[in-house]
């Protein structure tokens, strides 16, 4: 069972798609280019894309990813090699786009009360188990299940469809 380890970057409630990936960058089609603008409009987080390390986690409050259908908002984090998003709630289109890209998302009540920016986390996506290695506290998120889980295990929707067609 995969266990991920990384540092947490904690954000507040209602981190919408314009904060994650601003509308003025929508014409971009290259995901490597998208990655440079991740979280640029979150006040105080302008340097996130430069400072985040591969394997780090985005931790957020309720309604993460609300707003636009832009898949850029998932791709910019994925291509920065962020390990995934753990939020108190995740808006539905963002949830779909993450599943379709095999990008880890977990919904976890009160996570922003249990984790501070800079804390080291150990995360087991399959069970939802999260351990804050900095504080020692262990708690559980709702793991992705059903078809969404199968799609994520294949690495995303396109890979899932290819596997289905190849049968």
């Amino acid at each position: 069972m995969a266990v991920l380890r990384g540092k947490a970057w904690v954000f507040g409630d209602n981190i919408d798609t314009d904060l994650i990936y601003h509308g003025k960058y929508l014409p971009i089609t290259d995901p490597e280019e998208m990655a440079k603008h991740a979280m640029e409009y979150v006040p105080g987080m302008e340097n996130f894309a430069k400072e985040v390390k591969p394997g780090d986690f985005v931790v957020a409050g309720r309604n993460f990813g609300s707003g636009s259908s832009r898949e850029h908002a998932v791709l910019c984090l994925k291509y920065l090699k962020v390990a995934g998003v753990i939020a108190e709630s995740i808006s539905r289109i963002y949830y779909r786009n993450a599943v379709n890209n095999g990008f880890m998302i977990l919904e976890c009540p009160d996570v922003t009360k249990k984790v501070k920016t800079g804390d080291e986390l150990e995360v087991e996506p399959e069970t939802g188990r999260i351990k804050n290695l900095t504080t020692g506290e262990e708690f559980y998120a709702h793991p992705v299940s059903g078809l969404e889980k199968e799609i994520m295990e294949k690495g995303g929707l396109i890979e899932y469809i290819k596997a289905q067609m190849g049968r």
């Binding site: 409009y41 309604n63 259908s69 786009n97 059903g146 078809l147």
Partner: protein, 421 residues
Amino acid sequence: MGKTIIEKIISEKLGRDVKAGERVWVPLDLVVIRDFAGPNAVLQFDEVTGGNGKVFDPDKIAITFDYQAPAKVEKVANNQRICRKFAERQGIKHLFDVNTGVGQHTILEAGLVTPGSAIIGTDSHMNLLGAVESFSTGVGTTDIVAGFILGKLWFRVPNSIKIMFNGKLEYPVTPKDLTLFYVKEMGGDGANYLSVEFSGEVIDSLNLAGRLTLASMVTETSGKIGLMVPNDDVKAFLKEKTGQDFDGIEPDPDAKYLEIREYDVSDLEPLISCPHTPENVKKVREVKRVKIDEVFIGSCTNGRYEDFKAAYDYLMKVGKEFHPKVRVIFTPSTREVALRLLEEGIAKAFVEAGGIVTNPGCSLCTIGHHGVLAKDDVLLSTSNRNFQGKLGKGSYVYLCSPLTAIASAITGEITDPRDLL
């Protein structure tokens, strides 16, 4: 066990009974791309299919240009060209170019949307088509690529909630105020993953334009779709556009809802959503006196003819001239709406009052085109989102009805439309 509307729609599409919570692959009636995210989907489709793939059915694909129409920067011009070439190559005839307007409204007027249809598109406000009882929903580019290839897409059949609005909206309270009331009651994630069924006396008497306004902002509560059983106004519109008669899909009396809410909205006052989240809704009279720099009337939420007509009638009644320090921008949702505003002298009156009437499109709903804001600028908008920095870093956006927008455009500060009557 009875079925909700969404359970009926999906059961009908699959030819078997489905229940909320099931994962299903739903056959699609239409896959829609825009000039934003559309080119990304085309490039991804070509990559996945090795450059010579064929879409499942070219007649079930539509391409709309509304994000930046006509293109202002070369990158977007190239993106639109990618979509046009794709249409040529694939034999896609439903291409609505930069002269047509907001995608969802354009396909609705083109008769491509019917009750019970399943539609996906690269626009988070696709679900406004729930106003004609279509299961339409916004998706990202990977979903579109899957739709192009398979002609179907995975969904979790959503649970439903039922919201009944009874009473009567008292002028100058509008469907937009009702919509903001709904957003406030639900909160930004209150309808997450859910189908919302609207009913009650107010909904029964709401015309198509008002229903589109309400359905559009289900997105701002993270809802998958907001559905209303068509009334006579909607049926007449569908008959005109499609040539067909539709009965509408009624939920079963014993359908299972996660929640049923009932409101009497007769006492509703003009409402306004304050920076920087749509759910931050207050009474207009509580935020009076805030100075404004710009006003926007339009968008997929308030860009119908009826919205402009109501704005015009109110303007004629109370003022006729806008405040000299306020930039007042009107954007019809579609070419059809634009033509009517021109024919009836409504566009002329707006220009005479000091306003600017633009070509149809998404206009100030994104930073893609004109009307961008400076730091500290305050915009009063009839649109659906007021996210921080969305239209310019350090700016402030308030959301309101067309009548509150006009009243405020006249005085230069946020004004309750009742105050000028």
